[in-house]
Symmetry: D2
Subunit: 470 residues, 4 copies
């Protein structure tokens, strides 16, 4: 079939927006999240903190591919690393080795050992979900059990097995029976405490409730005689991503880990969205004074270039004795383009001052939004860690979730007709939260103060318009 | 943590092989397939049909990343397409659109419509397994049932849900209970007919055995009154990949589809390894005169550059009505680097004569191996379709599987000390087959006659050495 | 093999206790609950409220086969009904009809219709677990979903599927993966409120916590858009049996049902232990002003003679249209011996004044135990409904569970050497409760005041001895 | 609620057939197998080999509650044993002991030890399915794996877990996902060989096909390196019951056991229908020279009086060390009425000559049906073992299954208007077989030659009438 297909042959470049959207409506699956908005944006170009559409309208991006592009669009250094690898060894079956893979694994494992004082190994894969799948394999192999704890509001991906530990039922609803569905535990979401406690007086009541589950066999969790638990690991995001960038109390996870250790339950820390200095530390969990048994990472490791993900696991879980050759496999698992970029990312991090600059920028941005909050009661909560920042939109009472307002602001931003900063611009925001009313801000780690100011101004403009319309 | 880590800091380039392998042994998981051989090769460079190790020894590659690099290592046109995209829009969250995604989906769907006369849509993902996961979601959503038929010897990937439809028990053994384990049906592997029939007189006895399962409810498959079947889809590779590049009778799948249609069982065709002209046609299933309900593809679409995979499905299975926005999601699902390369791949295919050249090359290579077979009784079977070619190694009887010999030849090839063609060279072969005794040859579609001759000579040299050692 | 087996041939009657226990230790499985005590009792005779061992020592029974023998051991009327059926039609395959089956179903369904104002049907089986299995079939058929809510502390039986909705993990621990494990919800156990609230001020906080789960999809329970819930039914015991005869607030279940109805979740009421006037009403749920969708019953229906169990379900769940012939089957499901006794039980009930006498007796017995409580701080809680009475044993603080004391009292009672009432006697008590520290008293509904007084005296004697020993 | 319910109060005895059937249609679930025939029979009395309806019409019963009443309706000796126990100890909670339980377990275990040379223990339950559940618990506990092999055409009961190992999909169809569905293997049904072989030349080809599954890991069954198998036990009925009383080759099971032993797969022998001399031996498996790892029994142990079932298992599977107190439980598991009858049954067997008389009677009855076969080509197959006899009804070709004819004969028999033997009589037949075209004859073991002659005459009469009508 060498004949060129008609409509498609000259697709790129020459067509109008409507024509493109028509083709998209005809030939593309709508099963992904594109059509959450009415008329999807088509972007053509990216640079630093900005995306540009076909008319070259500039959009300030405050979500950066939900934290996959921590180091800015078209980061020259990382792009060049990719190009160099393209010219050298762009492809290699993952049953053979290449140096970048070894170097990257070495750097990541050495860092983990320095941070946590634990020997471990790295296993690569492609895409976050499949790395979570690999972690499930380690857990199931080690414990012989397949049921997991995970958090309400937690998100770990959407393969079938991972959908079982991702809280939202909507992700499972159409797809039959999930025999490994996790037991979902309330997350310490203090702005909306599941137990209506106050943070300053709660004494981590939520953790006590969790601890109580182990008190008798009749809570259905543990055999007190054998101390065998029905659940083999607890999957956490230290800062929930899709859940709305919720920051838990600093002493929460260390105390959780104590409970888990008493019952030989593993702690698996999903750093896919929060790793690589999003929160001002290499791993988000470093804020919480706890050593996970397994860490899962992805996204920003390659700055959104060639997808590469992976897990770090303690030696006892992943040594060749217990996880021997052939235990798993994936064609693109340690693809050389990805490892080369990943290696450059780590070097870039080593040479940067993100540990200082990110918290500083985060504090500034939070303070700007808290200023806004004083003037707009609809901003119910502003919180953050490093440059992972949440802005939760509410009714005038500052508490009742306001999804409509949130959607309106997002749509106005994507409309590209804001004027703050003196020219027609757009603002790209991502929405998360249990009530789909929280902006989850994840700007470039290189964002400038000027850009932050612009962001807040654009946000305020969009908010004002939305409030007027309502 | 800005301090550079010691051992890793200068990893690349400067270290000796032993030092690198030591780091690998310490920090890398061995869970993948790297350590199937005793001392893994480290490759440094690739070009066309060849890979080069750190000493610049040249290895002729007859497996091309198990068919992911159909268009040769460092294919300039595809590399350039990737670089251009890196310079333009290397990153974009998959909830927004970019033109290359639409163009690629359009081309693939239009081609499917021309080939099969069926409207359908494309859904992208990253990595073959996750595309298979997406197909499982469509099947489970459409049928409300989660059990599948699949083939003995079949391979569809290694996520947990996909391991349940991949035949080898070893892939499930360590990982607990699989509540969706497929029912595995014998594949028409005529060289080793599961029923010991002869191809010329069997009248597809294997299919009759399958058809018989629907005859009464007591075979445990179907309710004859309601015609509801316990199994909702049949997952196939038309040519089994890992199973050993087995070529089934040409009338097999059309007759299978008739049986499935009578019971509303979907046919899902996994083209991850055989698509994109590996067999001399765009899709391998085009040889078999049958329209699948879903097709899954990956690997060669981007020639092993940015991983992108996908499914094509009939409109009724994937239209927004039944598979609406939010049904699934993956961060890197339609990443712009991948779609840009994929689009260029399709254009390259459109402008090439693979439909003519691939079968011709395949016939030549098969004929050369069949000549060898006459002289070496240990070559039990040589068969192929296009440039997917199998060479099954046996004992002197030409039938009893000989895994040791197969391993020996592979290791000799990877040793890089063959001399056929007048200089020190290596030969890269991949092993598949139920008994791990089949070479699964997947050379570059651009392989020259000279390279094919070289390949056969290197193979014979390795075979001779192996036979002498034994 | 007609040869008589040696040791066994004269087993009955002639052997000493030790010899019998030796045979038991050799040939009987110990997997049941016999060996919870050190030296199991062998009983030889029963009469009214009493059992007699091989030495004819009399034991007052305050558990009556955990409420299976509500109408007293060797109840003459029911025994005679059984004997009459033995002489008439003792056996009949359940695919044919006999009058007693129809009569019994009619009486039960008519009564349910009068009580609840709902048409329904009766499906019989043999043994409580299999009736629960039948209810699961109705639920799964009606809803298309297999996950259930059930209570922490709840007990519904021990077949594999029913173990999945029975809270104690110990019942599942040895038996691999349970893909249908229920989500266990805290029961309103006010003496030990899971949330440490006080009953008079809690406003049913526990129910609010349950209701909250439906507030967003991120709690993992419901899709707010479609109102489809991942869980299809809630299995309850209104008074938990094994859980320790816990009496919930009277308004609890009506409010629970409101929540369930809003989300189309069925309520399945397990009356196996509490039905047939144990609580002073025909069904325990009649105390709670709520109509279940399905009821399950068993045990006392035949007063512990031929096991027969069953379910009542609303017409829409069980009509032949949705649950047609052949949907399920069990050899002994409506065995004529069982239905004949069951029919006589219902007649006996109709002619009795249990609705008056049982509450009266219950109040007397509770008051007697509360008197004891004043003198013994180790009695932490005394509560009851009808003749289902709980006595929870604690440390001196009246709260910390005291399993050792509870076990000691039970063993002293079973020792048969108490002297209260002027002769050597035993006392039979059953232990339940989350901490195995609650006596679950279920005396004969015909128990006399004298027997109740004797029971309390024997209990106090055993308690005193136990306290002295400690 | 002491008020007598209206319609039901005088149900028994006084009502006409139509009135009873009306109540049945209103209040009884139709989910069981009653309504397989158009107008269900109501029986009132039984005696020896006969049942009697409300008009006292006599029906010769050739199915005896599908082999639950091996010793005849209203067997005086067994009835008296039951009555004696009613007068002594009719009820006892199963956590206490009674002598009859110990005696019965001792007799069964001693006999198994004499027969198989293996120590083992007995665990009782109530109803066949729950005993099969107990065997699943032993298997899952011992092997840590939950998937089973079972036979196509096999039937083990209808609880959810047992439905997963019972072949017919119809039994699972309505009830959601079965995560433990067995792998069903073709049974050696030589009259309709699944592979179309001839018995005299097949060399057990079917077993070789099964054995082949273990040859490579790619058949999805076993890891050849570790010899771990995905399936932990093979559930068999030596003579398939519901499957149509199919008699396999005598050397089949010993050879199957060899294969299973090589891979540590347990053999569980379901004797629920064929045990207790139905086939002329105590256990049917004694014909096949093989020792099972677990046996399951039920039905005829109590001659259809109080349901009691059980398992015998090898010591290593069931000793208190591996299956300790509390591993399982069921209220009625070793109820004293059942054990007393069971004990008497064993004594009756010990004093009888069934080992001689049953085969003799069986041969006579088979020979009579084979005589019929010569005259009626519609009788395709007559075969049997002891008094388990199959008569398979076909088209005139003697092979094509003829369900209509089978149904017609059954209905004519149940119509009660046959005249063979000189008075108006009925004939009770049970239908089984994969095509529902096999009469599964299980007459009383006490059937007389005269009754057998009458049975054949009634059968011929019904067959003639049916053939005329067709």
């Amino acid at each position: 079939m060498n004949k060129k297909s008609g409509a498609a042959k000259d697709v790129k470049g020459s067509q109008g927006l409507d024509e493109l959207l028509e083709l998209e409506a005809k030939y593309c699956s709508w099963g992904d999240t594109v059509h959450y908005v009415d008329k999807p944006n088509i972007f053509k170009r990216g640079d630093g903190s900005f995306l540009y559409d076909r008319d070259d309208t500039e959009y300030l991006d405050l979500q950066m591919w939900y934290s996959a592009v921590n180091f800015g669009y078209r980061n020259e250094r990382l792009n060049n690393a990719l190009k160099a690898q393209i010219d050298r060894l762009p492809q290699l079956a993952c049953q053979y080795l290449h140096e970048e893979k070894i170097a990257l694994a070495t750097k990541l494992a050495e860092r983990a050992e320095m941070t946590f004082g634990e020997k471990g190994r790295i296993h690569f894969n492609v895409g976050g979900s499949t790395a979570v799948e690999d972690s499930l394999k380690l857990v199931r192999n080690h414990t012989g059990r397949s049921l997991m704890f995970a958090f309400m509001g937690g998100y770990h991906g959407r393969t079938l097995a991972v959908s079982a530990i991702t809280s939202s039922f909507r992700y499972r609803e159409k797809f039959g029976h999930f025999g490994d569905r996790a037991l979902f535990v309330p997350f310490p979401y203090c702005f909306r405490c599941p137990y209506e406690k106050k943070r300053d007086s709660c004494s981590l009541y939520c953790l006590k409730q969790f601890e109580k589950l182990f008190e008798t066999e009749y809570y259905g969790i543990v055999d007190r005689k054998t101390n065998v638990c029905e659940f083999s690991a607890f999957y956490i995001e230290t800062i929930q991503g899709t859940g709305g960038y919720i920051i838990p109390p600093r002493d929460y996870f260390a105390k959780l880990k104590e409970i888990l250790d008493r019952h030989n339950i593993l702690l698996v820390d999903d750093e896919i969205q929060m790793g690589f200095f999003r929160t001002g530390k290499f791993w988000a969990i470093e804020h919480f004074n706890v050593t996970p048994d397994i860490m899962v990472f992805g996204k920003a490791l390659t700055n959104g270039l060639n997808a590469i993900s992976g897990i770090w696991a303690k030696e006892k879980l992943i040594s060749p004795k217990v996880f021997p050759p052939g235990s798993t496999h994936s064609t693109f698992s340690s693809n050389p383009l990805g490892t080369a970029v990943g290696l450059e990312t780590i070097k870039l991090i080593e040479e940067s001052d993100f540990a200082v600059s990110v918290p500083k920028k985060g504090q500034y941005l939070i303070s700007r939004f808290r200023d806004l909050q004083k003037r707009y009661p609809e901003i119910g909560d502003v919180d953050g860690l490093g440059l992972a920042i949440r802005v939760e939109m509410c009714q005038k009472d500052g508490f009742t979730p306001n999804r409509e307002l949130t959607d309106a602001i997002e749509n106005i931003g994507l409309g590209g007709k804001l004027t703050a900063g003196g020219k027609k611009r757009g603002l790209i925001l991502d929405i998360g939260g249990y009530y789909k009313n929280a902006f989850t801000l994840a700007p470039s780690l290189y964002i400038t103060q000027k850009e932050m100011d612009l962001g807040v101004d654009l946000f305020e403009e969009a908010l004002s318009i939305a409030l007027k319309k309502a």
